[in-house]
Amino acid sequence: LAKTTQPISMDSYEGQEVNITCSHNNIATNDYITWYQQFPSQGPRFIIQGYKTKVTNEVASLFIPADRKSSTLSLPRVSLSDTAVYYCLVDRSFQKLVFGTGTRLLVSP
C-alpha cells in the first residue's frame, strides 16, 4: 500500500502562502494524488487532484516532482477560513481511498 506522510500540524497567518508537503515513496504507477480538506463537524471536501507536474484550480495548486514520491499542496494567501485538516491520498488499492492522519492547519490573524 502506498503510505503517505504529512506534518501533523502547521501554523500560518492570514495572507501568507501555505505549502503542505506529503511524502508517498511507494506510490504506484497508476496512482493519482488527491487532496481533501475537512472543517470541524463537516465531511472531507475534495480540493485538487493530479498525476504529475502542476495542477491549479480556484482553490489551490498541486506540485508533483518527476519522481512523484512527494507532492506539495499550495494555498495562496490563506484566510482564517482555511483553518482545517488537509489530507493527502494516493492509495486506491482495491477501489478504496485511504485517509491518513492529515495536517491540521491553523491560520491566525
Partner: protein, 113 residues
C-alpha cells in the same frame, strides 16, 4: 439542495440498542460509501456499494449492516450498539467506483452511553 444528506446528525443511545443512519445522494452517482471517524480523527472506510452491489466490506463487525435499496440511498443499521461504536459516521458518493472525487455528507455523530 444538499448533494449528500444523512440523518440524523446526532444520535445518542444506550448500549445494546439498535439504530439506523440514512443517507441519500442526489448527484446521480453510482457508488456510495460509509466511513467512520473515531475520536482520534482517523477516517476509515467501512463499506462501499456500486449500483446497489456491495463492493467493499472492510473488517467491520457483522453488527453493522449496510443496505442500499437503490443507488441513491445507502443506509447503515447497527445492532447491539457498544461503547466503542461511538464515532462520527460519514456517508459519501462518487461518480463511479474508480472516481477519487468523493462527495461527503456532514456526518452523524453517534454517542453510545
Amino acid at each position: 439542495d444538499t448533494a449528500v444528506s444523512q440523518t440524523p446528525k446526532y444520535l445518542v443511545t444506550q448500549m445494546g440498542n439498535d439504530k439506523s443512519i440514512k443517507c441519500e445522494q442526489n448527484l446521480g452517482h453510482d457508488t456510495m460509501y460509509w466511513y467512520k471517524q473515531d475520536s482520534k480523527k482517523f477516517l476509515k472506510i467501512m463499506f462501499s456499494y456500486n449500483n446497489k452491489e456491495l463492493i467493499i466490506n472492510e473488517t467491520v463487525p457483522n453488527r453493522f449492516s449496510p443496505k442500499s435499496p437503490d443507488k441513491a440511498h445507502l443506509n447503515l443499521h447497527i445492532n447491539s450498539l457498544e461503547l466503542g461504536d461511538s464515532a462520527v459516521y460519514f456517508c459519501a458518493s462518487s461518480q463511479d467506483r474508480t472516481d477519487e472525487k468523493l462527495f461527503f455528507g456532514s456526518g452523524t455523530q453517534l454517542s453510545v452511553l
